[in-house]
């Protein structure tokens, strides 16, 4: 496959840090988010939510709700009669149990916060008064709240149809003779690593505004989702409508990070209520619901065993992965997303010759989970990086050196997991990261600090991240609906201005700028001549939205292809009009000119005028209009961005606080369409990774009541906790995508937890304590430091 068109001579925008086109609107308060849209006759919805983690809803009395002044209606599951949201995998019953998520729970509730009724009122205050008047009676059942409880032999069942509370149980790889390798290996290490439940926490909560458009015979739903086309599909399915009777529009979106790339039940209920009432209905999730009843993430357990030779080369990896997915499977990814991702990608950047893995998704009485930036990779990278740290200690090797001996250096490389990695800079990024910290004197400072009794630690993490997941990669998961490709359309109007439409949707990633950069370069246009349209199911046939760092790698490639096709049309039109061979034409700065006669040519404006307004001049066989569409899919296994993160921390005796003194990220996402945007993605991702490593955790009490109901309890880090971060770019262009770009959305989140944890453990080295679970909170640090102080006293001469 030829991977790139020859770059047009005027290509200057791709690779340059052009200012964001989103900014003026967002900086002046002229952004338009869902809650900014008010329409005439609009009603407001809130949800009555289950107050018990597990139980039977024996009665639900809404009569008092309907009496509340301002309340217009209240509906239960029986009133709305909607089909459940069911995602699926094509796997045998012993591997996978499909479960539906009802839009409103009918008789069985499975987590605190599960919606059981929707209340609609004239204003949001009245809607909240309304839900307080609901009277629900539950027959409380014992909740299942932890992995151990879920897997206990006599555990109550969250879903009757899922024995052992296991929704997915797969053993994807098992190298023959692996037990022999472990038996003979000079060094084996074991790691048990658990990560806390987290909230992806976009600052804008979820929300939807649904209204019936009688003229179009369409239910128009404005909602903040990363996957508008899939919301449309599910909404139509749940309500039994033709898909064309639903239009999903995504306005500006205040972050998503994955939890908005699954279909929520609330937006479906809001749509159904709007249809029923014949009036627009708006629902804006409040923060309490966003923290407790929305989709959560993470909470995984990795039991890893690894065998090494005496020189520190890894010989085998044996893994047991258990993911606590909460109460329901998300659409379209299912509960399989986390364990399948971890199972197939765990060897990561290392040459692991033998591999065995079991991956399980278990269900518990907690809010369901959705993919969150990184998806399993922050966790498995952390666990695998702990394996190398452990082995380095056992074998007396330097932690960087052991990585150096094991990272993949020859590309393309096909791993024991049957994945072929495209070229990357695994070793180079590691070397540069270490050199940077060394040159800045951190190793010297660490030694000096130790002499003063201070605890400085240096930690690294190396990883690659599959970014351009195409259809083939997702099909391997055996999903019933398979994401992967994307579409783009370009349309030039009579003034030569270009509108690009994609199936991806930006929620902070600057697509309006970067997609325009790609299209403008391809056609030799100035940036201001290009505008992006995204997030409207009426504007493009289908799209897979924005997740898995796929937008630029796949959506951007589709844009380049579509623009390329339009370029061909412009050149063909020029050739016809000037009566010259097609091959003699080139696109150049807003016009098509002759290759050898730069003076002779036609501007895009002149060509567009002919294409639309003077069709009488069109050369024979040329169609009017100037539009083109294209699709793109990454073949084979997709693209792999990579990075090394290096962190220096200090542990403060007395408080147990971890302070990050230095953070360096050496990243390689192939061609960076806009380096500023890439850096922004890195920094934001790293902040979320640090949050997971040191601060954030969703917790529940013994009854399954969420303990984090606001920002007082859920500790999202502020500017005081997140350090300045230096980013070095390496560039190994992808051979698979049209632009050479790979994808940069998730890397920061993937690399940070492992690097931070390794740095903490390096600082704890004198204590002999190694921490493997996150978040690492001051209590644990404190304990470790006290132990160390104690031992120090014991061993000190009297």
């Amino acid at each position: 496959m030829s991977h790139t068109h020859p770059a047009p001579s005027t290509a200057t925008l791709v690779g340059s840090a052009v200012p964001r086109r989103e900014d003026p609107r967002l900086l002046t308060g002229r952004g338009r988010f869902v809650d900014d849209i008010d329409v005439p006759r609009m009603l407001h919805a809130q949800f009555v939510r289950a107050s018990v983690a597990s139980g039977r809803l024996t009665s639900l009395d809404l009569s008092a709700v309907r009496e509340v002044p301002g309340v217009v209606a209240a509906f239960t599951a029986d009133d709305l009669e909607l089909n459940a949201i069911t995602a699926g995998l094509h796997r045998p019953p012993e591997e996978y149990v499909p479960t539906g998520m009802p839009v409103l729970a009918r008789d069985r509730v499975r987590f605190v916060g599960e919606p059981v009724a929707i209340v609609i009122a004239e204003d949001p205050y009245a809607a909240e008064d309304g839900i307080e008047a609901a009277k629900a009676v539950y027959d409380v059942l014992p909740p299942v709240l932890t992995e151990d409880a879920a897997l206990a032999p006599d555990a109550p069942l969250v879903h009757e149809e899922a024995p052992g509370n296991t929704l997915l149980d797969v053993s994807l790889f098992a190298t023959e003779g692996i037990d022999r390798i472990f038996a003979d290996a000079p060094c084996t290490v074991r790691v048990e690593s658990r990560t806390g439940r987290q909230n992806a926490l976009p600052l804008e909560t979820r929300g939807a505004l649904a209204q019936w458009d009688a003229r179009e015979e369409q239910l128009v739903v404005h909602t903040c989702t990363q996957i508008p086309h899939q919301v449309r599909t599910v909404m139509a399915n749940c309500m039994g409508l033709d898909e064309r009777a639903v239009r999903v529009v995504v306005p500006d979106m205040g972050g998503g990070f994955g939890i908005k790339c699954v279909v929520g039940r609330e937006e479906i209920a809001v749509g159904a209520a709007a249809l029923r009432l014949g009036r627009p209905v708006k629902w804006i999730e409040d923060r309490k619901d966003a923290l407790t009843a929305s989709f959560l993430a993470r909470e995984q357990h990795y039991g890893l065993r690894a065998a090494f030779d005496a020189d520190g080369h890894i010989l085998a990896l044996d893994a047991d992965v258990v993911c606590d997915m909460g109460a329901y499977s998300c659409y379209p990814f299912t509960v399989g997303i986390e364990p399948l991702m971890a199972s197939s990608e765990m060897p990561g950047v290392y040459r692991v010759p033998a591999y065995r893995v079991r991956g399980r998704a278990i269900t518990t009485n907690k809010a369901p989970t959705a993919p969150y930036r990184g998806v399993s990779r922050p966790q498995y990278v952390m666990a695998v990086e702990r394996v190398f740290e452990r082995a380095a200690r056992e074998l007396g090797l330097d932690p960087v050196e052991i990585r150096r001996r094991n990272v993949i250096t020859e590309f393309p490389y096909t791993g024991v997991n049957n994945i072929t990695y495209d070229p990357g800079s695994y070793l180079e990024s590691l070397d540069l990261c270490e050199k940077s910290l060394r040159d800045e004197g951190w190793y010297t400072r660490q030694a000096e600090a130790a002499e003063q009794g201070r605890h400085l630690g240096i930690g690294y993490s190396c990883f690659s991240e599959r970014t351009g997941y195409g259809t083939a990669a997702f099909a391997q998961r055996k999903m019933k609906v398979v994401p992967g490709f994307d579409l783009a359309e370009v349309r030039m109007d009579t003034t030569g201005a270009l509108t690009v439409t994609t199936g991806t949707i930006s929620h902070g990633q600057s697509h309006e700028t970067t997609m325009a950069q790609i299209a403008a370069d391809e056609l030799g246009l100035e940036l201001h001549k290009v505008k992006l349209h995204q997030g409207d199911t009426e504007r493009i046939t289908y799209g897979w939205g924005t997740f898995a760092s796929r937008s630029i790698a796949i959506g951007g490639s589709a844009v380049r292809r579509a623009a390329g096709k339009l370029g061909e049309r412009l050149r063909a039109l020029t050739a016809g009009l000037l009566d010259v061979p097609y091959e003699d034409t080139v696109l150049d700065k807003g016009r098509v000119r002759l290759r050898d006669d730069p003076e002779r040519g036609l501007s895009h404006v002149e060509l567009a005028e002919v294409a639309y307004l003077r069709a009488d001049l069109l050369p024979a066989g040329t169609e009017p209009g100037l539009t083109a569409t294209a699709s793109f899919d990454t073949l084979s296994d997709g693209t792999f961005s990579n990075a090394t993160h290096g962190v220096v921390v200090e542990l403060h005796e007395g408080t147990g606080q971890v302070e990050i003194l230095r953070y360096i990220c050496v990243e390689d996402c192939g061609v960076a369409i806009n380096p500023t945007v890439v850096e922004g993605q890195c920094r934001g991702g790293i902040a979320q990774g640090i949050a997971g490593a040191l601060y954030e955790q969703v917790t529940y009490d013994a009854q399954g009541d969420p303990e984090c109901t606001g920002f007082m309890e859920y500790k999202m880090p502020t500017a005081a906790e997140i350090p300045d971060i230096t980013i070095h770019h390496l560039e190994t262009p992808s051979l698979i995508t049209e632009t050479g770009a790979k994808g940069a959305g998730e890397g920061g989140t993937i690399g940070a937890p492992a690097a931070v944890l390794n740095a903490v453990n390096d600082a704890l080295r004198p204590t002999g304590v190694e921490l493997e679970n996150t978040p690492v909170r001051p209590e644990q640090i404190q304990l470790a430091l006290e132990q160390a102080a104690h031992e120090h006293k014991e061993s000190a001469p009297a």
Binding site: D23, G710, T718
Partner: protein
């Protein structure tokens, strides 16, 4: 408590220099009044319990969380929202600094940070990076990792000081 039984009140306040009169439910927050009664949707809500700062506006020149204030409490006060920063359609120096330093991604937290910084710099024109970081830590942003927000405010402050010194000479 319900919307009908609560008393309605006439409140006059000055918003972005214009005097406004609104009849509203006494429990209505200033944020909702600005957003939905006056149509100034630039001010955002992300927690409604006073922690995230997305709803920050200036009340009599000082940063305040409009989700924690009832609109009736703004009676007779001067309120400034993000819409006031660039009256003439051109970005103010502070807004331009945010654009120059990529101090925003999704932009949802941005109006709150802008108003926080606007109020903070007015009172602390000499603030250095450390103080700016401290001030900025009273608002939450999930996208940027904060560094570029600190950069933006710091550069804006430095430019304003440079400008002033220039005037003095």
């Amino acid at each position: 408590m319900s919307s009908n039984t609560t008393d309605h009140q006439l409140v006059s306040l000055t918003v972005n220099g214009t005097e406004r009169e609104v009849v509203l439910d006494s429990r209505r927050t200033l944020a909702d009044t600005l957003r939905h009664d006056l149509g100034l949707t630039g001010t955002h809500l992300a927690c409604e319990h006073g922690i995230c700062g997305a709803c920050t506006v200036l009340v009599d020149g000082r940063p305040a969380r409009s989700c924690l204030m009832f609109a009736v409490q703004a009676e007779g006060k001067q309120v400034r929202t993000v819409e006031s920063l660039s009256d003439d359609g051109r970005l103010s120096d502070l807004q331009q600094a945010f654009a120059d330093h990529h101090g925003l991604q999704c932009g949802f937290c941005t109006p709150g940070f802008l108003m926080l910084a606007e109020g903070f710099l007015a009172e602390n024109p000499d603030a250095g990076r450390k103080e700016i970081r401290e001030a900025v830590s009273s608002n939450l942003c999930r996208c940027t990792g904060y560094q570029t927000i600190v950069d933006a405010v710091e550069h804006c402050a430095a430019a304003r000081r440079g400008h002033q010194e220039g005037n003095v000479q």
